[in-house]
Structures are given as C-alpha cells and as structure tokens.
Assembly symmetry: C2
DNA sequence: CTGTTAGCGCGTTCAA
DNA sequence: TTGAACGCGCTAACAG
C-alpha cells in the first residue's frame, strides 16, 4: 500500500492535496469547523448560506486545493456525464482518416457540453465488440452511446433498442426499430457520380463495392445501379468487386478490373481510400487517370484533394456529422425532444482531375 | 422524472433490469432472503459461503440480470481502472493516420487489461488542454495518463510530475524531470535518411521541419544536420522551412523550395504526411519525383506505401508503440516496477521510389 | 442560515 | 457460514 499521512497541516495551516490524498469535503468541514453539508452547499452556490460563510469556504477550498471527486458525484447523481463510442476497426490497426475526423467532431462537441468520452476500438461483429457494448451499458459506464457505420441487420442497434439507453447512429438501418440517426444520402450521391461519368461519355462503369454488410454500401450501390438503369446501362458481374475500404483493397480490386477485356473506362469506388488505391493501380499499369480511365471516390477526406491527380468525389462533412450526432445524443440524454430525429444530409459532388471524357479509340498500354 | 416501478416481480418471480432500473445487490438480497454482504461475497467467489448458497445467488443473479455498478465499485475501491489520453489536434479536425494507429494500439492494449480509455481531443498548449488534464487528474477520473508528442519545455510533463499520478510519454523531454517514456531514435533516423541521400549523390538537401516546439522535430533536425556536417555539407537558411505536419503544409513548403535557385535536389520532410504533400508539389511543377528530385518522409504510415511514387521513409511501429506505452502505464498503475523505464526504438530505413540518384545536368522544367 | 439524517451501490471489517 | 455496521465522497430532504 502507498504511504498515506493524514491530518497533517500545510504551512498555511491547511491540508493540501499531496501525500495524504486528495482533499475532501470532510477535510474542508473539519478545517473550518462546519458541517459537510454546509460546505457542500456553499460550494454549490446555494443561496441559503451566509455570505461570510460562503467566502470562508471558498477561500479554504481554494487554498487547500479542493476538487470534487467525480466518481462520488456520479454515484450520487445517478449519471456519468459520459458518452461511449466504440470505433469499428478491422484489424487490428486502423488509419482511416474518416474516423479521425469523426472522433474529433464528437470529442469536441462532447467537451463543449462537459461530457467525457469513453472510446474503445473493436473489430466489428465479434464477441469482443458485443461484450464491450454490454459492459458500457450494463455496467452503467455511460449515459448514452454513439453507433457508427451501421450494418445490415445490425445487432448493436437491435440490442440497444431493448435497453432503453439513449443512442444516436451515424447511418440508417434495415431493422424494424426506430432510433435517431444522421446519415448522408449515399443513394443520391452515387446517382450524381454516375450521372457525371455518363455525361462524360462513359458506358463501361465498374464498381468497387463496400463489404456487403454495411448499410452505406447498400445505398451507394443502389444509387449507382439506379442511374445506370435509367440510361439503360448495367454492370456485368465481373465489373463489381467487393473491397475492404482500404487503399490496398482498392489497389488490388482495380488490378483485377484492368485485366478484364474490355476493361472499364471508369471505376467508381465506394470510398475515397479505395479510390486512392485505384489511382495507384491505374498509374502502375501505365495508363493515365482522368484520361484513359476515370476514377471516383466518396467522402472527400483530406488526401483526396492532394492526390495526383486530385480525386473527383462526393463531399460529406464528416467532422460536422460527428458534432451533430454527439449533440443530438446529449440532447436526448438531457431529456430534450429532438426537433429532427432523422437527418439525411445531401453530399455535394466535387469534380476534380480524376475524371474526364471517355477516350474514343481503344486503350493502348504503353510499353 | 422517468417512470420508475419498484418491487415488481418478473414472470420467473424475479425482478429484471427494465423500467425499474438496474438490479442491485440489495434487490438480489431481498429476493433471496439473504444479506447484501453474503450476496456480495458469493458473487465475488469468497470461500466462506456455503456452496448451496453460492449456487442460489449465482442463479438468481443470472436470472435477474445482475451486473455490478461500476461507478459504485470505483468509489469503494478508490480506483477507476481508466486511462486518460488527450490527443493533440490542431484545428479542430485531425486526420493524421499516425494518431489513428496509435489510438488503436492503446485502445486494444487497454481493453486487454480491462481498462477503459477516456479520450479527449484538444489543441496543444491551450487553456482548454490544460483544463482537460487538470480535470482528469484532480477529478480523479483516471488512474494514469498517456502523453504523446512531447514538446519543448512541455508544461504537461512538468505538471504531471508534480501530481504523482502515473503517466507514460511517447517522446522524450528537455525538462529536468525523470519519467517513463518510449521514443523512436529520430536523430539516428535522420542520419540514415541523410546518408542515403548523400550516397545517391545529393548535395543540396532541403528540410521541411516540424514546428519548433515539438521534441521529435528537434531530434530529427539535429540528426540531419549531424550527418551533413560529417560530410562537410550544410543547409542554407532558405533550404529549411517549418511545416505544420499536414499534407497541405508539405505542399506549400515545397512550392517555396522549388522557386529557389538553385533548387534542392532532395527534400527531407519531417513526417510522411508532409512528404506526400511534397510529392504533389513536385509533380504539379512538372518534375519527376525520384529522378529530378528526391523526397523522404518519416513514420511509414500506410499511404506512404501507396503513394506515387512510393515513399522512401523511416518506419516506426506506431501501433506497437501505442500498445507498449499503454502496457507500461498499466504496470505502473498496478505498482509494478518497470524493467525498462526509457525505451528508445530504432526506426528502419525503407527505401522506395521517391529517392534516386541525383541528376547530372541542370533541371529542365518541361513546358 | 446551519446541522442532522439518509442514501447512491458496493466492499470490508468484525461479531455472532 | 452469515449478518450488522461502517465507509468511500457527495448531494438532498428535513428540521431547527
């Protein structure tokens, strides 16, 4: 056990938070000859304490370095002022700028409202992930939860709905449960992207899809297929490859696409990271992105703007979404009624250099 | 106030955690006709409870869905089993894959030891950042802290040292305080990088430095200068530009360098993100990276391998560093003595396409 | 205005 | 083998 010396007075005659452990209300009360209650109320700013007493208490608290014990307060208040956030990381590492921005948005908004943020990183759909959710909820560690990257038949949402704990999701669900959520309109986004390519003369579009259990992938794919159908176009099965959302995944998928004959004239990637990988693959093959073959992404993460060529993509305000989701959750926790429980954001098309008009002649790979 | 119904029995005759709030030890005790103490001990696995009693308790606990209240336990145990981690984000967003990997490493290691992770994102050297540290410590929210990206005369470290709270840093310090830390040997790293370029015939090296208050930047710069001096080379002042560690920062810095006459034949960036920006700038100017001009980074984040051209850099195992730092902190918290309080890791040189032999003739920018 | 009493949920003495 | 009593640190209801 650590050394603990109690009842020692500092030079000013007051205990300070040092070896003797933190200063408590009890310490203050004893030093002042008051009851714990009075000290507590003086500090809390109640108006039923004598001004002179309050002053004495405040001074002593400052001098002795009193800081309330958050844990004790939580137990008594019955709430934790903490938000839980389990980041889905396949992995075990993750380096998707997407989550970084989201985390920053969530964290800053939480801090703004004096909420703490409890973060875990877990592989999706594993026992560990489920255990983490259960622990956060059943152990009463958090007042609410943020769920991101919703999945098909999402077990997290099904479970959360049964608990009654406030939660907000980034992403919609196919389950028969109603819950507050924010999502971008991925369907519309891919319609716009597809239209953009079709306008440029592209007819052979390939698609690097997201893992099929992710809701956002479903919407995006459906959007692309819708716009193609509208133009009486379609994607042969070999033009659709499921990627893992990483740069490497986009790279290998594109290599496969380039080996097809005829190869696509445009590659639509389900997210920016895979699109960046696609650019690499095309360049490695000797073709020129934006001329010989067009590539699009989705998200508009910072590297999209710095890639070579710069990436045509759909912009969604990830940082702001993080803030908004967090803000909604806090409102919910505080018992307020959300003015809008379901927010669908319209992404905007950002046309850059990675897309261009389709070439007339057949592709010729330079030696 | 929310609806609360107490003392209602479920279909099995037992209370369950629903509208009536979570099941507590008291509920269990009442339902079983035992004292709270006995129930507590049975659940804790003490050997002084009758086997039959224990079984009854375990069964009831399972059926009624008892889960201990973590907050109450914390108050009683006097520890939080929580680690604090304040991510320095300039801002307000951050999308440095570097921190993502670090966070994953820390988070997974914490989870492995049943520790929770309290995360904040704050702008370095601001009152908000300081307030966050104070709150975590003085409010007794965490048992220990992780400090990353140490700074010159780091106020966080100076403060932490006075508190006695366990902490581990990723990065060394110039302060007169001793504390456990892990760091990569940035000095040696830039010596190797510099030597590599010199071996390729480069004599005009430029440096995109880190903000001067960051310790890792100091080491890296010193390493580069050391190796140059050893070869009786030096960098003119205009060859050194301080960047902000972002891709955009590297981009603009490199534009400035390219406008110099003569321009450098190699650009050494203090981190990968800036190196990637440097590649963009060079390409935009029409020169070929790896032939007309060489570029190096530091960190070996995933995009470094996928860039075009791929990036020559120093690899440091960020994910593992996260794990190690977290592991050390937990040992410290649990009162163990660290076998090694100061760990200095050797980064390894990864030679890729962005560096090549210096060209003989003068640079000619294609029209 | 102030103090006494009670309780948040849990673990840990100490008796019985 | 079990239970009563107490404390962790704080807030709230109720007297006086």
């Amino acid at each position: 056990m650590g050394l603990v010396i109690r009842n020692v007075l500092g030079s000013a005659g007051f205990r300070r938070a040092t070896l003797m452990g933190p200063v408590t209300l009890k310490d203050l009360a004893e030093a002042l000859g008051l009851s714990i209650t009075t000290v507590s109320r003086a500090l809390a700013g109640y108006n039923d304490v004598a001004a002179s007493t309050r002053q004495r208490v405040m001074d002593a608290a400052a001098q002795m370095g009193y800081v309330p014990d958050v844990t004790a307060r939580r137990l008594q208040k019955g709430r934790t002022d903490t938000i839980g956030f389990v980041i889905p990381t396949s992995g075990p590492r993750f380096s998707d700028p997407y989550f970084s921005e989201l985390l920053a948005g969530i964290g800053n908004e939480a801090a703004r409202h004096n909420y703490d943020l409890l973060v875990s990183t877990r592989t999706p759909d594993t026992p560990e992930e489920e255990a983490t959710y259960r622990r956060l909820i059943e152990g009463r560690l958090v007042d609410g939860l943020l769920v991101v990257r919703t999945r098909v038949k999402d077990r997290r949402l099904a479970y959360l709905a049964t608990t009654g704990l406030p939660f907000v999701a980034f992403g919609r669900s196919d389950l028969e449960v109603e819950f507050p959520c924010v999502d971008e309109d991925g369907f519309r986004g891919l319609e716009l992207l597809g239209q953009h390519l079709i306008d440029l003369g592209h007819r052979r579009l390939a698609f690097i899809a997201a893992p099929e259990n992710l809701m956002f992938g479903v919407y995006r794919r459906a959007g692309l297929e819708a716009v193609l159908q509208r133009h009486e176009l379609s994607m042969p099965a070999e033009y659709v490859i499921v990627g893992d959302l990483t740069q490497r995944g986009g790279y290998t998928a594109t290599n496969q696409l380039l080996d097809l004959s005829p190869p696509p004239t445009a590659v639509v990637a389900c997210n920016d990271l895979m699109a960046l990988g696609a650019i690499s693959a095309v360049q490695k093959s000797g073709l020129v992105v934006g001329r010989d073959i067009s590539i699009t992404g989705f998200d508009d993460i910072p590297p999209a703007e710095h890639a070579h060529p710069t990436l045509t993509t759909m912009r969604q305000p990830i940082y702001d979404i993080g803030r908004q989701v967090c803000s909604m959750l806090i409102q919910l926790i505080q018992g307020e009624v959300l003015t809008k429980r379901h927010v669908l954001l319209q992404p905007t098309l950002i046309v850059r250099e990675s897309t261009g008009p389709v070439q007339d002649g057949p592709h010729v790979r330079p030696a």
